[in-house]
């Protein structure tokens, strides 16, 4: 199904704490008989065991943009690498970026929204996080990066499930859900997964925001109430006033953007036949009218934030004050 956006080269970001199974997943993607060619960006040059023609080493140079927004960081090395890769435009069908275990996914993702050339020719497809079923719980306690990688993910491979009991697996999944109830979770061993569950996700494609259905496992929300990284979802069936909503969301993301990792919404505005969808990464917001509301569809506005130290009561009050 070719779409206007599909002329852009899709980019998949692989994250995951050290030893979780990222490189195994990467090699699986590359060796599947899909007939596609990928350019692979790895975090250290000369990394062993990646079987691909086009492997590029990245330097993890995180730059602040001079736009007065402290959380607006980008990966300068990626801008340079993607500029270079685009000169070989017929050589590959997609780009896969493997980050280090300690990398924050935000600057990687923001690069695709902030740089004009990169944004015009490529499109971020999804952030895929590989998590170690046995050790993730410990990492969520002692490694803030591990927490950000879970919070940021669109797809999570809960890997090495053969090393834990059923109960332990449920427990770790609940902890993931407490942070990020929206990502698609797949249980895997040795990172074994069908490639179509990892690539072609369109997670940042406004046209493909269909529904926001948080998957809160029973008890998960309450149980891990002390988590500082959490998600919140609010909904209303009353139409919103765009003249109230846009100033609110802009002010909110300017003020709290450093703490809001991801945001997403499907909105019904007063006197507007179309669904309005948006998604955001920290302070960077992208939104548009999507399609008309269908007759069989409840016109419910729903919004979600994943972040740390967010004031839920204030968020809800703010959102509901946008009702027309």
């Amino acid at each position: 199904m070719p779409e206007a956006a599909s002329s852009k080269i899709p980019v998949t970001v692989l994250t995951g704490y050290l030893g979780a199974g990222k490189t195994t997943l990467l090699n699986r993607i590359l060796s599947e008989p899909h007939g596609k060619k990928f350019a692979v960006v790895v975090n250290e040059f000369g990394e062993i065991g990646i079987d691909n023609d086009l492997v590029v080493g990245a330097d993890e140079e995180v730059f602040e943009m001079n736009n007065g927004c402290i959380c607006c960081t980008v990966r300068g090395d990626l801008i340079r690498i993607i500029d270079g890769l685009l000169r070989r435009k017929n050589d590959f069908d997609g780009i896969i970026i493997e980050t280090t275990g300690l990398a924050d996914p935000a600057p990687v993702a923001q690069t695709f929204f902030v740089d004009e050339t990169v944004g015009a020719k490529t499109a971020l497809d999804a952030v895929v996080t590989v998590a170690d079923a046995k050790w993730l719980k410990d990492r969520l306690k002692d490694a803030p990066e591990a927490k950000s990688q879970i919070a940021f993910a669109d797809v999570i491979l809960l890997n090495k499930t053969d090393l834990v009991t059923e109960t332990e697996l449920k427990d770790v999944e609940m902890r993931i859900r407490a942070i990020n109830p929206f990502a698609r979770i797949h249980h895997t061993q040795r990172s074994e997964i069908a490639i179509d569950k990892v690539l072609g996700q369109g997670a940042f494609d406004l046209d493909r925001i269909t529904a926001i259905d948080p998957d809160f496992l029973e008890g998960g929300h309450r149980h891990f109430h002390d988590e500082d990284m959490r998600s919140y979802s609010f909904a209303t069936d009353k139409p919103l006033d765009p003249d109230k909503f846009f100033p609110w969301i802009q002010e909110l993301t300017q003020r709290e953007g450093a703490n809001i990792l991801r945001s997403k919404g499907i909105l019904a505005f007063k006197d507007d036949a179309d669904r309005f969808v948006f998604q955001g990464v920290h302070m960077i917001l992208d939104g548009d009218h999507q399609r008309p509301w269908r007759a069989d569809e409840a016109k419910v506005s729903r919004i979600v934030f994943i972040g740390r130290q967010l004031d839920a009561a204030a968020l809800e009050k703010g959102f509901l004050s946008c009702v027309a």
Binding site: F45, N66, G76, L85, R87, K89, E116
Partner: protein, 331 residues
Amino acid sequence: MTSQSSTPSSLTSKLRRLDLGGAVVGLRFLGATAGFVLGEGEIVLVDAEETRVEAHKGAVLSVAGDDRRLLTGGDDGRVVATTADGAMQALFEQKGRWIDQVAAGADGTVAFSAGKTAHFLPVKGERKSHDFPSTVGGLAFAPKGTRLAVAHYGGVSLWFPNAQAKPEFLEWKGSHRGVLWSPDMRFVVTTMQEAALHGWRLADGGHMRMSGYPSRVTSMAFTAGGKFLATSGSSEAILWPFASKEGPMGKQPSMLAPRDVRVSSVAAHPRDEVVACGYEDGLVLMVRISDGAEILLRAPDGAPVTALAWRGDGGALGIGTESGAAGLIAF
């Protein structure tokens, strides 16, 4: 701002059309021969005939040169010098690295960079190398002497490769990409990741912020004698006045050849106060700075102009675009 002039006079009938079959990423004249560098590794040398050589197995990441040699750096880890007869010489090779930047110095010296490391190749003697704090975004030799301006994150370093001293650091927050010396060596200017230029007055380290562009500046050139710095990035050619010793601070830039499409490439005539402006739709104009008079050189065809170069004597202009449609026009 001047109003858009009526239909400009046209020289499009004199344009010799070339179909190069690949995106043009750089262009220089080697004497009377135009050397078009294609993104995927080939160089097409055009005089009465067309000669095609493969300089790199892979993408060309940067292009520089003088009137004798075309220098290219590729993602095959090679720095290649190509002459007008199609002869090629690999000046450096490091497998597995990308050569991000190349620069040509006076008397045949060469500089290039891979990641954070810049290298200097004298005509005779040992290669010199220096590691900078972050990836080299731009590299330029001073018009005289052996001194390099090296742009990177956080500013520009001025490096004397033949001296032991630490490079002098010109600081300015942000990511600096292209870098250029003014012909009189009083100023160094960078293009930034943001839609702005930054400049330093070397005499006193004074800063010059040149902003207001709707998009990132990717092409800039000093006009004959260094009176103006012509830049792309806006829907007109922006020319900053550099004739006085203070530079452009507190002065308004001249805006020439306004259209509803952005300028993607500029090239300054080597002798006269004339600039060539290429736009994102493929149109090319020649503009006289004094009165803004325009002459149309190439009609738009939809593909952005990616490279423009004047022949050394100013008697011809080469044009390259993203689609591979190119042209030569002699005056």
